[in-house]
Symmetry: C2
Subunit: 298 residues, 2 copies
């Protein structure tokens, strides 16, 4: 079914009848298509599941194109990003084209699905903005972090699961909660991997987030554990290019206070909550997606 | 009724529940609200006319935010643009927020209106891309220019008139044609004003387009009239910061070949076509909008 989604995206792009957009789109490497998988699995491939999946993946691609411009990110999935190769302007414009074509196609599906997906895009746009604003200062507020990653990452994953449920006439709330939980866990794990992975396995420099000003969950929890003098030290490292001694200080402190384990457990708890819902529904495939998320690269 | 549109936009922005977006939005100067006027006048203020107008003006504002980033434009309506004050990233993100909120609200209106508006956003996104691509070389092809300004500017004006007709159960094709004609004329006139106005009346440097690589209609027609040696001279001026002698050469050639008059007449013809349709419909207000367009600043 994922192949059918790829063909549908290609069809939507071809309908633009615009050579430049087609050429640029071909150069975006596919991700894992998590959102499409959720829609297909939750909806049990009901009518419009392929179209909805294609739209959501186009919208997701659009959001990544704009994110990479905003984050000055030149690597995406181990390849140079579109903004790295063709400049920011090309990435902005291709993002706008994919967004608008996606929104247009929602009109041919179902108004409830369209509301859920477009509301998620509002949330992810707000989340991207809040991510940037929050990066200006060290953030020690866990709730603000959770709200921001919900908006930036979980909202479209949540919407994908809910849209699948709408298409299949299943209980929207159950799948929405499932999607929200694995979506928040997904971003938490991503943020942990920024600290635990080397540049090679993730395809981006390790501990890049904090240098960019992003106070992710491990930093928030570390801050809570440190004494006042060390708190001051941690804040002084915010949004800075750290030398080896400083990096090692950070890694030692993470270890001393068992922060990474603690954060992993928090992500796992969310996935367990999501899994319980799928156990109850007897949906093995969605259980497996949740399980694979925890196992990812740790 | 335009006041009601402003209030509706403010409501939509307030619903985002996001302080930063509200603050930024307040700093965008309003334009003439041409698109809202068209929707209100064509629909005779039918049900959803206010909501549709608000959405279209939010989408228009979003497109200008992104255009100003893409064109490196620091002046918009005689004021510093959002990208000039807060940087490109803020303008991109606010644009995404306004776009997505606009698309979300279309779901609460009418699926036909939603299709027409979102298709126009696809077109204007493609048009912006083509504008940038075409600016890389001197363009002597009138059809490519007309297609690009149709996409970039006329598509949303056309869609506004058509959406108004849908809301009021009027003949869609008539108002669509009216909107397309005045939309193309609007951009032609804008492009002429870039040559005929001083920086003071338009709020941007005169003859800025050609310096940016944009071969607008007057340059295309001038090219057609010039002998081979002067053609070569004209092309050598493309996308260059011209000195006074070169600028005067250009202005002399425009005058010698009566180019500006010729272009104005072409724009007028489109407006006359649009006016004939409104004469037939007996719609005085839309006749006046067309007339005012021709009179604009010439």
């Amino acid at each position: 079914m994922l192949n059918a989604v790829e063909r549908k995206i290609e069809q939507f792009i071809a309908e633009l009848n615009d050579e430049n957009s087609s050429n640029l789109y071909k150069q975006i490497p596919h991700g894992k298509r998590l959102r499409a998988k959720l829609i297909l699995l939750v909806s049990n491939s009901a009518k419009f599941a392929i179209e909805t999946s294609a739209v959501v993946e186009m919208i997701h691609a659009a959001s990544l194109l704009h994110d990479d411009v905003i984050d000055n990110a030149f690597i995406r999935r181990n390849k140079p990003s579109i903004n790295a190769i063709y400049g920011d302007k090309s990435a902005i414009m291709l993002g706008d084209i994919l967004y608008s074509k996606g929104f247009y196609e929602l009109n041919n599906i179902n108004v409830e699905v369209s509301k859920v997906i477009s509301n998620a895009v509002v949330q992810l746009s707000l989340g991207e903005q809040n991510d940037v604003i929050m990066a200006k200062e060290f953030n020690s507020n866990r709730d603000n972090y959770i709200k921001m990653i919900y908006q930036k990452t979980a909202s479209l994953i949540e919407a994908s699961a809910e849209a699948g449920a709408i298409l299949a006439n299943e209980d929207r709330e159950i799948y929405k909660t499932y999607g929200k939980n694995i979506g928040i866990a997904f971003q938490m794990i991503d943020d942990i991997l920024d600290i635990t992975s080397s540049a090679d396995t993730l395809g981006k420099p390790a501990m890049h987030d904090f240098k960019e000003g992003k106070t992710t969950l491990p930093y928030i929890y570390l801050y809570e554990k440190l004494d006042d003098s060390d708190k001051f030290e941690l804040i002084s490292f915010h949004a800075k290019d750290l030398n080896n001694d400083e990096l090692n200080w950070l890694l030692d402190k993470f270890k001393e206070h068992n922060i990474i384990e603690f954060c992993k457990n928090e992500a796992k708890e969310l996935v367990v909550e999501a899994s319980k819902l799928m156990l109850k529904e007897g949906n093995e495939a969605l259980l497996k997606i949740a399980k694979d998320m925890i196992d990812r690269d740790f």
